[in-house]
Structures are given as C-alpha cells and as structure tokens.
C-alpha cells in the first residue's frame, strides 16, 4: 500500500505551500529517486488545474561532468535550467539522494566553477521570487540514503520527515497556520528593534537588525519550516561562533565549523573536518564571506539534526547563520552564488537579548 502521508504531503505542497492555480506551469524538480512523491505532487497539481512537469535529475552525470568535462563544458550553463527559472510559475524542489557522498572526492574548485556557470539562472530565480512571479518550495522525500545520513532506519526516517512536516496532525494545514500565528507574535515583537546580542556555548555575537525585517517562515517556502529570520545589517556582525552541528554542503560533511566575524565579514574560518572545502566556498565569489542571515528555529517536532539543512535549521531550540546570498525581502543586500546555513544548539546556557531585553533563553522564547 502507498503511504497515505505521501498524498497528504503532496496536497500540502500544492495547496498550502505554493497555492497552485489553474493554468500555472508547475515544475517538480528532484533526483530520480524521489519519483513516488513527485508523482503524487503531479497528481495534486493536475487536480488544482495546473500544468505540472517533472524534471528528474541524475547526479551520476554531474559527477561524470565534474571528472571528465573540459573548461568550456564546466562553464556551460544549461538552457533548460535557465528556461525553467524564467518561465515556471511554481517550482517544487524535492530533495532526496541515492548517495550523499557522491561528491565527497570531487575537485572543489571545479565544483565551484560549475556552480558559477548557473549563477545567472539562480539570480533570475531570486529576482522572480522577489517580484512575486515565482512561488517555490523545497521539501524532502525520505530515501534509504537520507536515512543512512540521519543514522536511522528508513521506517524511522519516514516518521521523522513526515513528523517534521506536521503530516501526523489531523489537519496539517491548520497546524502550519497555527505555527504561523505563534511566529507572528515574535516577528511583531522584533519590529523596530536594533541591537541583537547572542551568547551561549561557543557563541558570542552582536549584530544590528536596524531597518531590517524578520520573516515568518511558515512552511510555505520550506516544508518543513519553523523559523524566524532576517538578513542583518551586512557590516554590523562582530564576534565568533562555533557551530555545534555538522553541516552538509555539496555532498560533503563539514564539522566543527568556527567563524570569526569582523564588520560582517568572515576573517577567520576553520573546521575540524572539511576545512579546505569551507575555505574554497568562502572564496567562491566576493559576497561569499558576508553575513546573509540570522535565524531562530522553532519547529519542536524536529529535535535532532539529520544532515539536511532544511530540517536542521528548523530544530526547535537552535539558531543559524548563513553566508552569501542575502534576502531582499528582509532588507538584505548581499549577493553571492552561495547561501550556506550553519546551525548551532541553543538549548543549554544560551540567551538572545534585543536592545537589552531578554528574548530567548535555553532554546525557548520568553516573550
């Protein structure tokens, strides 16, 4: 029997997350291993009157290109990707891998070069999102490889993924609307404030949010979500942070990341594992070293990290920072091909104060 949560998942993506309308060109995007969910989304999009199309990817080919492609081939930008970013009304990106270690041994400079080729398409994507021309969401389909990364059985991991998306709730959409209301109180409280100080285990940061907006991430663009975030004033961040959770980026595990910021810019970076890759990413372009995001995770249905930022950054009781591309809708101005979220636990001996008032303590909001 098909898992009934799959069709609830699809209904949520099409109905709540992207509100597909009749005539919408809906592109469903993912590794071929995510087919079971892609088909349910296709069905739900059809039922909503949209024109869905499934774009299945094969990561093996990316690897072949990274290993054997010449420079012109690495610099080549796919017209298909450009067209999709330019024409789609709705983009539903389904994560899920066959092997997250696929790119563990590929040359990171070549990888960065191949990424840079798609930059115009990615910029177009962000621009159309900002203009409200493109609705998008990212979600995850539970695969064996994902379960392995999370150190779970597939069965446990399915429960984890679907649980994080609140699909066990009698009415998942109502549950997300409820989370939206709770987060709105936090966002309203933060409006007009300026100075944020974060202190905790391995964290000592100060930043300005003056004139910047906190965004209520209510599960529409990320499924699951549960965070409030902003792009801090770019040159205001100072201090240091050691991220307690490992970060998975482009198929690599980077663990024990430590960053020192001066005036919003990373001036020192190290990691216990993957330090070289971290440094190569920081040099990918001019904007890659600049602070792009400060956020607080609020999804208490997710209580542990599993190696996917989409879930890890939502952990109820965590905060995260991102480097690279900022969010124009939050007032962010920084530009980069990179947007790398890094997460740290705040449940022990940690606090966030804003303009001298306590906002958050040991993983919970006090307001």
């Amino acid at each position: 029997m098909r898992d009934p949560r799959l069709s609830r998942h699809a209904d949520l993506l099409v109905g709540y997350c992207t509100a597909v309308q009749p005539g919408d060109y809906v592109v469903i995007f993912g590794n071929h291993v995510v087919r079971p969910l892609a088909r349910e989304v296709y069905r739900a999009a059809l039922a909503a009157g949209g024109n869905p199309e499934v774009l299945l990817l094969d990561r093996y080919l990316d690897e072949v290109k990274l290993k054997y492609g010449d420079e012109a081939q690495l610099d080549w930008a796919s017209p298909t990707l450009a067209m999709v970013m330019d024409k789609a009304d709705v983009l539903i990106n389904i994560r899920g891998e066959t092997n997250p270690s696929q790119f563990a041994n590929t040359d990171s400079a070549r990888q960065a070069r191949a990424h840079a080729a798609d930059r115009p398409a990615i910029e177009r994507y962000f621009k159309r999102i900002a203009a409200g021309e493109l609705r998008w969401t990212i979600t995850r389909y539970p695969t064996q490889a994902g379960a392995q990364t999370a150190e779970m059985s597939l069965y446990e991991y399915e429960d984890f993924v679907f649980g994080g998306c609140l699909l066990d709730e009698p009415d998942p959409q109502a549950a997300w609307l409820d989370l939206r209301r709770r987060q709105q109180r936090i966002v309203d409280w933060l409006a007009g404030k300026s100075m944020v100080v974060v202190k905790g285990d391995g964290v000592d940061l100060s930043l300005s949010i003056e004139g910047r907006k906190f965004i209520n991430s209510d599960g529409r663009t990320n499924m699951p979500s549960g965070e409030v975030f902003t792009s801090p004033v770019e040159d205001s961040l100072n201090g240091r942070i050691r991220f307690s959770y490992p970060s998975y980026q482009a198929g690599r595990i980077i663990d024990g990341i430590e960053l020192t910021f001066k005036d919003g810019r990373v001036v020192e970076a190290s990691a216990d594992r993957g330090g070289e890759f971290l440094k190569s990413q920081l040099d990918i372009d001019e904007g890659a070293r600049i602070i792009a995001e400060f956020a607080i995770g609020t999804n208490y249905a997710i209580s542990r990290v599993t190696g996917d930022t989409l879930f890890d950054e939502k952990v109820g009781g965590s905060i995260h920072l991102a480097l690279g591309q900022g969010f124009p809708q939050a007032g962010g101005t920084n530009k980069s091909i990179l947007h790398w979220d890094m997460v740290t636990d705040m449940r022990n001996d940690s606090r966030i104060t804003v303009d001298g008032e306590l906002l958050y303590e040991n993983g919970k909001f006090v307001i």
Partner: protein, 368 residues
C-alpha cells in the same frame, strides 16, 4: 561488469549517427529505465566536446495527465520540450520502457488531443531536422519489458538489439558505411523513375514516385537502421495492403490491419485486433488518412518482428508504409501529428516493379 556493447553503441550514436562536435548542445532523452545507455551517451558526448544534458521522463506521470487532465491540461505543451526541440543542436531519443502496455486503458481520443496539441512543436522539429539545424537519432536500450514484448529473455533480446545495430562487430562504423554504399546503389537506380507497383500475398499497390527522391537510411537517424524510403506523390497511391506484422503504437497492439487506399487516402480500414484504436488514429487530423511514406527494409540482421517499429520496419525482406506526416527531404507535403509505420512481409512471393522493371523479389533486390 558493464556490457561493453553499450559503450560501443553510445560511441556509434555520438560519433557516427549525430557526429557531435565541440560546443553542440546535446539533449539525451529517455525513461529512467534506460539510464545505463543515457549515462554512456553523456560520457561520449563530453568526450566529443559537446554539452550533454539528459531529460528523464516519467511515463507514470504522463499517464496521470491523460487520465486526470481537463481539456486545457490535455492541450498544454511543455515549454521545456518546446524550447529543447527548438534550440538543441543534437538530440538522442532513447526508447525503452519498464511497461510497454502502460497506456492500454488510456482514452485514445485524449491521446490524440495531446498529440494534436504537440503538433506545432513536432513540425518545428521536423523542419529543423530537414534543414540540418538539428541532428537527431532514435535508438533503443534493451529492457525486460521490451524483451517480454518481443517474447524473448533479456539476454536474447540484448543480443537481438546489439546485433541489429552491429555493435557486436569489430568496427560498427565501418559496417554502417558498407550499408550506406549498398543502399546508394538502390537509390541511384530509383532516381528519375516514375511508377512503382508492389504486389504479393499481402498487398497490391501502385503509386507515383515521380520527382520523389528515395532516402538512404544508413544509421544516422535511426539505430538500428537499414531502409530506403520515399514519400510517394500524395494523391497517387491506390490499392490494398494487409500488414502481416502487428504494430504496437502508443502502447496499443494492432494486429492484422488492412487498408484500402484510393487517390492517396485511406477509405476503408479494419484490424483483427485494435480496430477502434486504428480508426481513432485515422481521425486524428486531416492528414492522418494520407500516405506519408513507402519504404523497403534492408537490415538482414533483423529476421523477426518484435512489435517495435524501429526494428520491424528495417526487417530485411519487408516493406512498410506510414500513414500521416510526410518526409520533406523526400518531397513529401502531407502534414499530420501522426506518423504511423506499418510493416508487411515480402519474403513469401512479394514483388516490386518500377517503370515495368523488376526491382525486388521475395525479399531481395534483383538489381544488386
């Protein structure tokens, strides 16, 4: 171990059929189940200096559109496919499925609607192919489902497919160049001729081929290949044909199809199996009842029909006719969103006469 014939097939398709050059945007299209060949193609295109990209299709999703789509959704054309067929320099279409009968209960009129909607895109593709803007080839990856359809084991079917493509030969490219040379003689002999008569136990047809060139199919557009064909003068085809081989078109089996043709138009049609589908396809559009192609198969490495037009129409000792879209390179002018090839055996007493000279008898060319 990977089957070494797969890499040889990919190299043949990239370097011989499509002659990929540095800088060519090369689209590689197929179902997920054909991935092993798609990956070899991707690698071979990269080695040739091209820009490969794969488009994986999921036929289960496609079927959902047929089943659940409203009129607007059935008439929708993918902007992605449209753009790809308009812009790509090179196209590899790899056939092969995990279920040949997936569409068995799909409504044929809805399939026709979808095909009609795709017609401008299809015409653009034909046009770009005829002007040489787009180099394309259709090939097949052997799957269990297609082996089942061919009534063979997978191992037998792999041998069948790879032999027909001559990738079991030491030098497949040289083997295909020999096919080209043999067929050149036939095409040259036919040049300037006017009237063609084909008769035998399964057919009695006449048609004009005046000013219609025969095309030498040497493995550049189809792999396997081995046929010479033309688009006969549209209004000139007269007579009767019964197709001795079943046809599997759009996932439907049509057996024992019989057509009566007057002034180039199918005026009567019946079939032992799949007659409803045959009739619905003839009504797809105005051009669907006209004859788009007449051809002679020359691949004697293919000795049996497997329900796959790509192979069946090449059978050494067979002829085929297509209803629907004509081929502009051969002077064809008919337009339709269908192009349906149906094949009949000529080895049991078939003859082809051209301007009263015997060209072909019992499945062999008399002039070679």
């Amino acid at each position: 171990m990977r089957d070494p014939r797969l890499a040889k097939l990919a190299e043949l398709l990239v370097n011989y059929s499509n002659e990929v050059k540095p800088g060519d945007w090369s689209l590689i299209m197929g179902e997920l189940v054909t991935l092993p060949l798609l990956r070899e193609l991707y690698r071979a295109v990269l080695e040739a200096g091209g820009y490969p990209e794969i488009v994986l299709s999921d036929p289960e999703s496609g079927l959902l559109r047929v089943q659940l789509g409203n009129d607007e959704q059935l008439n929708w054309v993918s902007p992605l496919q449209e753009m790809a067929l308009d812009k790509a320099d090179v196209l590899f279409r790899v056939l092969g499925t995990d279920n040949t009968r997936r569409l068995s209960s799909a409504d044929p009129s809805k399939l026709s609607t979808m095909r009609a909607a795709a017609r401008p895109m299809f015409e653009n593709y034909i046009k770009r192919a005829s002007t040489g803007d787009l180099r394309w080839v259709i090939a097949r990856f052997p799957t269990e489902a297609n082996a089942q359809e061919a009534e063979m084991s997978l191992m037998e079917y792999e041998d069948f497919v790879f032999q027909a493509c001559m990738v079991d030969e030491e030098d497949p490219v040289a083997a295909w160049r020999q096919v080209q040379a043999d067929q050149d003689k036939i095409v040259a002999w036919l040049e300037g001729k006017k009237k063609l008569v084909a008769k035998g136990p399964h057919l009695d047809l006449q048609m004009s081929i005046a000013d219609r060139p025969f095309i030498n199919c040497r493995g550049d557009d189809n792999m396997p290949d081995g046929e010479v064909f033309t688009s006969p003068v549209e209004g000139s085809v007269e007579g009767w044909i019964r197709f001795s081989y079943p046809s599997l078109e759009g996932g439907r089996k049509v057996e024992g199809a019989e057509l009566i043709i007057k002034e180039g138009q199918v005026v009567e049609a019946k079939a032992d199996k799949g007659e409803d589908y045959l009739l619905s396809q003839l009504d797809t559009d105005e051009g669907a009842r006209r004859i788009g192609e007449f051809a002679i198969g020359t691949n004697y490495g293919i000795q049996r029909a497997t329900g796959d037009a790509l192979f069946d129409e090449k059978i050494g000792g067979s002829v085929h006719m297509a209803i629907g879209h004509g081929v502009p390179e051969a002077g064809g002018t008919n337009t339709s969103s269908i192009h349906w090839d149906m094949v009949t055996d000529m080895r049991d007493g078939g003859q082809i006469w051209v301007d009263d000279e015997l060209l072909y008898e019992n499945g062999k060319f008399a002039i070679l």
